[in-house]
């Protein structure tokens, strides 16, 4: 195993999403696990090719929604029945149907906030700098090119061999990604 601290990995550039997905499959067949693909739009089948499992965003969203709903109703109950009760013609203090609209809105609010901030947190964003940005042509990753980066921390990583593997998969430009 060769591990060099100033190399983040090796990156190959592809022209089409099909080539990228194909390359990811082949690279994983070759035994590499520490890799990531970059595309200007979500490519169908790429997550499966990378072996990504179900993510945590739905669970976080559910928890956010539950917190918003339960917290919202509980808060209204506390305000209307406990801390600031108002006796209006003897009507019940826990007039729950009247609390439903706000409970509903807060459920949606809690779930949406959890979905967005959960997604950002799991993606470790904001992250202004990342080694892949050191590759000059990587600016095309947000326009019309598809990239595959095999990271140096992969146990199988070998600079020359890994680069050759990417070339054999019809990568246009294969370049080293420096770590700083």
């Amino acid at each position: 195993m060769e591990r060099r601290s100033h190399i983040y990995g090796v990156m190959g550039e592809f022209a089409t999403p099909e080539q990228l997905t194909h390359a990811v499959e082949k690279v994983r067949e070759a035994g590499y696990r520490r890799l990531d693909a970059y595309a200007p739009f979500p490519v169908e089948g790429l997550s499966q090719a990378l072996g990504l499992k179900r993510n945590l965003v739905p669970l976080i969203t559910l928890l956010g929604g539950l917190a918003g709903g339960v917290g919202g109703f509980g808060f209204q109950y506390w305000v209307a029945a406990i801390t600031y009760p108002m006796n209006i013609g003897g009507r019940p203090l826990n007039s729950w149907p009247a609390f439903i609209p706000v409970t509903f809105e807060l459920t949606i609010l809690g779930a949406s906030l959890a979905a967005v901030f959960g997604m950002l947190a799991l993606n470790k964003l904001p992250q202004p700098h990342h080694p892949v940005f050191n590759v000059h042509r990587f600016s095309h990753a947000s326009a019309d090119r598809f990239f595959l980066c095999i990271e140096a921390r992969d146990p199988k990583f070998h600079l020359a061999d890994t680069a050759r593997l990417l070339q054999s998969l019809h990568a246009h430009h294969v370049s080293e990604v420096s770590d700083d």
């Binding site: 965003v57 600031y84 706000v102």
Partner: protein, 461 residues
């Protein structure tokens, strides 16, 4: 269906009226849309339009400043008409916002590809409309600096909001709606901000877009979670958009005022909101595609579909009007019957008939293919529907409040110069924001257009 005519969703029809003009690649859609923001020189027309809109926004600022100095007495409101223009405009603006969420969330869930090129600016329209709407209840309180009383916060006086009040429901519904719309819009913008960051040449632009893009790099792992979050947001925004105008209709229907106290209000408010919203999307889309030569992205298919949605929701609204009328008569309640008479023969009857003309009769032209494909007619019709929906809220608010239960409580309402100044001023603010948006952010989602390119190229194979 007659023989020889292909089924409506056949590849043949889709080829004839595509959602994307032919011959586009990932690179060319990126170039074309980002160029509007990054390289295209700002046209004289933009400056003229912006100057007019900005002046009107200035008028709004003056009107609000004068209101803060003098109080709500500068408006035409007085007892019994406490609501007047402020609430009419509030409901109108919120309704306009609804189409943006409908396009971005509901059509996304229904997998309608034609939403792709219109969802970004429709969402922007939602945000700006909600911003305009939010001004009205705030200034209508008379003491806008005390508006925080409506939020539950631990005060030293130990008082809390009344959660049984529709006005408090409104606060929660509208602020949730604004927040969720903003997040939905921003999440959609994230990949496009990265594109602008990578393509801008000037350093300050690179820094600003770079900060907004938060380091988005298009990683497949990120897309994986991004897609989950986007789908979930769409699923959450769908019931939200239906609830917001329902809650706003509760402001009316929970009250016992004749003409307001009906169960048909929530669905018919929601339909009306979508109706006016689609009209506003057309009002914006038609000049936008012309000014920036986006006819390949916002095709006739889009305009045609939007016209059809307008027609459908317009018919639901017509159904609402009819049954509102019918149930008032059928109930036998003399106050309700009297209200119907007031709509037809009272001092505000011309507004009611103008409303029927704008909202029910004019849109029937949309049944005709020729009308839906005549861009100028479509533009005029979208304006007519916008006016009609404004009249609807005027009729609901003013006629019911001027004709309460006892004649001693009757009154008249007419707006003053400051009412008009505030209203026209918010239109100025809305247009100003739209102009700025088109200039600094991609008006069409670039990432989704690339996806559309990938999908259409697959279909052709």
């Amino acid at each position: 269906m007659s023989a020889g005519q292909p089924p409506l969703d056949s590849p043949e029809i889709r080829r004839l009226t595509p959602v994307l003009g032919p011959g586009y690649t990932y690179g060319s859609v990126t170039d074309k849309i980002s160029a509007i923001v990054l390289t295209r020189p700002t046209s004289l027309g933009w400056f003229v339009g912006f100057a007019i809109a900005f002046s009107l926004m200035g008028l709004m600022t003056v009107a609000i400043a004068w209101l803060v100095i003098k109080g709500t007495g500068i408006w035409g409101i007085n007892i019994p008409i406490g609501w007047g223009f402020a609430i009419v405009n509030f409901v109108w603006w919120i309704g306009i916002g609804h189409a943006g969420t409908l396009i971005s969330a509901i059509l996304f869930l229904l997998n309608q590809k034609w939403r792709t090129s219109i969802n970004r600016f429709a969402e922007a329209m939602t945000l700006f409309a909600v911003a305009c709407a939010g001004i009205f209840p705030l200034i209508h309180t008379g003491r806008p600096w005390m508006a925080f009383y409506m939020f539950p916060y631990p005060s030293t006086m130990g008082i809390w909001p009344q959660f049984r009040s529709p006005i408090i429901w409104d606060v929660f519904a509208v602020s949730t709606y604004g927040t969720v719309s903003l997040m939905f819009w921003f999440v959609g913008l994230l990949p496009d901000l990265a594109t602008l960051r990578d393509r801008s040449v000037q350093k300050p632009m690179k820094i600003i877009y770079g900060m907004l893009a938060m380091g988005w790099r298009g990683s497949a792992r990120h897309w994986h979670r991004y897609q989950s979050a986007y789908l979930l947001l769409a699923g959450l925004a769908t019931p939200l958009v239906l609830s917001v105008h329902s809650v706003i209709s509760f402001d009316f229907s929970i009250a016992i005022v004749p003409g307001w106290h009906t169960t048909i209000f929530p669905p018919y408010f929601v339909a009306g909101a979508i109706y006016s919203g689609f009209a506003m999307v057309l009002t914006i889309a038609i000049p936008l595609r012309k000014a920036y030569a986006l006819e390949d992205f916002i095709t006739m298919r889009h305009l045609d579909n939007m016209a059809k949605v307008m027609l459908a929701t317009g018919l639901i609204v017509a159904y609402g009007y009819f049954f509102e009328f019918f149930f008032s008569l059928y109930s036998g309640n003399k106050f309700d019957v009297f209200l119907v008479q007031q709509r037809l023969h009272g001092p505000y009857a011309p507004f009611y008939f103008a409303l029927i003309l704008c909202n029910i009769l004019t849109p029937q032209l949309l049944w005709f293919y020729k009308m839906r494909h005549n861009v100028v007619m479509l533009f005029i019709m979208s304006i007519v529907v916008n006016i009609g929906m404004w009249l609807e809220r005027f009729v609901i608010v003013v006629i019911s409040l001027t004709r309460d239960f006892v004649p001693s409580a009757w009154g008249r309402y007419s707006p003053t110069f400051w009412d008009w100044a505030t209203f026209i001023g918010t239109i100025g603010m809305f247009v100003t924001l739209i102009f700025l948006f088109v200039r600094v952010l991609p008006a069409i989602s670039i990432a989704e257009m690339r996806e559309l390119v990938a999908e259409t190229s697959e279909e052709e194979k």
